[in-house]
């Protein structure tokens, strides 16, 4: 077996400690993002998910200034931003995206200001880029506990609101008639998205945060209509893409020119893209169910 896998898995992969952390944290984040992602895509909130990931960067920078642990800065900012977005956002998707954009613009302006004030710290510029593009192999193992906590919280929220969210995504009126409060459910969902994206932005970067939130879920939605299965597929695709991406990134150190590794973000993103396009091909081939017998207008 070693002989078969040897060309694929470069030496030291399984014994490397950063790799362990990456696989673990990356894996958890992928699964959480996949689950929360289904609701994100179904509710058309991909932009909010992306904006929240980026805004948590602001929180990260800000918290360093005030002296709070960056983790809480990340989470706190994105949850607060989610609250603001939900408050000022209109229910129509266009109005919502507009509000998201405004909050993001203001938030990033704030980030610029904080980074400017923060220039006494030498690695600031590097920090921005790191946060934007990810740092899979340099995750601090001590964050695993927080990651677990946030993950449980995010998944817990959407699991609890599973049925109300599905119903209100189909029709807000039907949800109200059944006794659901669509606005409240939506606000809580946005908070779950905030938690999920803040922890993924922190650990694996803002790019991957959005990619893992949106891509696997979008692919899974094309594969099946059963909501439970969509969740499963979404988590699985995200997980496979992440682990495979980690492997490839590790391997790339050994590719010519030796000593330079390609970033994990690149691999994971393109793996997700490939999965998405594959499901597109599959869906296009399936004939529509022959139920068009019922007359229409």
């Amino acid at each position: 077996m070693n002989g078969v896998l040897a060309p694929v898995i470069e030496p030291g992969f399984f014994s490397s400690s950063p790799v362990h952390v990456a696989l673990l944290v990356g894996g958890v984040v992928a699964v959480v993002s996949g689950i929360v992602g289904m609701f994100t895509v179904v509710r058309g909130q991909s932009y909010a998910g992306h904006a929240l990931a980026d805004l948590s960067v602001t929180g990260g920078s800000g918290s360093v200034l005030i002296g709070i642990s960056p983790l809480w800065g990340f989470a706190g900012t994105s949850v607060a931003a989610a609250g603001i977005m939900d408050l000022i956002g209109v229910q129509r998707p266009r109005g919502r995206d507009l509000a998201t954009g405004i909050v993001r613009g203001a938030g990033l302006g704030l980030a610029a200001l904080l980074l400017y004030w923060d220039t006494t710290h030498t690695s600031t510029t590097g920090a921005t880029i790191t946060i934007l593009f990810g740092s899979m192999f340099t995750i601090d193992p001590s964050v695993i506990g927080i990651v677990a906590a946030f993950s449980v919280a995010a998944v817990g929220i959407v699991a609890a609101l599973y049925r109300p969210l599905l119903l209100s995504s189909v029709s807000s009126d039907l949800a109200i008639v059944r006794g659901v409060r669509p606005r409240l459910a939506g606000a809580l969902c946005l908070i779950a998205i905030a938690l999920a994206t803040s922890l993924s932005a922190l650990t694996i970067g803002a790019i991957l945060s959005t990619a893992l939130l949106v891509g696997p879920a979008a692919a899974a939605l094309r594969l099946t209509a059963r909501p439970g299965l969509v969740l499963a597929w979404s988590a699985l695709i995200g997980l496979v893409a992440t682990w495979l991406g980690i492997l490839l990134a590790y391997d790339s150190y050994y590719w010519p020119p030796k000593g330079h590794g390609w970033p994990v973000s690149f691999f994971v993103v393109f793996l997700i893209l490939i999965f998405y396009l594959l499901t597109q091909a599959r869906r296009g081939r399936d004939a529509r169910r022959p139920t068009a017998a019922a007359a229409e207008g």
């Binding site: 266009r94 954009g101 704030l110 610029a112 510029t125 094309r222 970033p263």
Partner: protein
Amino acid sequence: MFSGFMINTWVVATIVAVVAGSVGFFVVLRGSAFVADALPTGAFAGAAGASLIGVNTLVGLGVFSLLGALGIGWLGRRGRHDVAVALALVAMLGLGALFLSFTTEYGPEIESLLFGEVLGISVNEIAPVAALGAVCVLAILVLFRPLMLSSVMPELGEARGVRAHRIETCFLVVLALATSMALPVVGALLIFSLMIGPPAAARSVTARPLLAMGLSVVLALVTVWLAIAVSYQTNWPIGFFVGTIAAVCYAAGRGWTALRSRRLRRSQASTLPPVAPTASAVA
């Protein structure tokens, strides 16, 4: 503030504001806030790649934002639009990450591309910016009517021969041009604030299209001028002021709308007097 090299900044910023105001009008109308955000962010990755190979940053910007726009169009035809934008965005950023990994200098230019750099404009950058800007505004004016039709009433547009896909692609291309020309001044992350805040406020004030577009240009100009002035005085990043002022514009627009609808409701509070009982319903 108005001496020497600052003149360049004022000139370029004015051009940028005019373009952002006009293109932004349609961004808001078509609900393309995410696209207007994603294109600059992704294009920034192209700029990084360009600086890597030593090509003019503007070219890298332009190529990437164009590729991004076409990618969004292509993916958007095959699935949900917001998913398409998100995937195109992360694809561009993934490439950007790849490019950046080949260089160890995360120079301040990268950051200025993200957040904007007031003093970074040289004279020979004005000409290409002006040219691109003119093309964008011209394109918007030429495409004004089909854009209005396909944005507001797509079915009517189709009936008149305005193919939604083609218009969408054209619009995305114009957006790509606008973002790539504006990036050097206000930065990737904030050009879209100019394209969203002022136009949203303008639309709250008036529904007449040309007037709204004109107003959105004016508001964008005011925003940028104010941002430059204050940024110059305080030395704080211009992006902060653009983002904040844009948010204020948006808030003002929303407030105006709320105020107006309340006034409307109050003036119509006294309505039809009840007709004689015999005409009313009986259980």
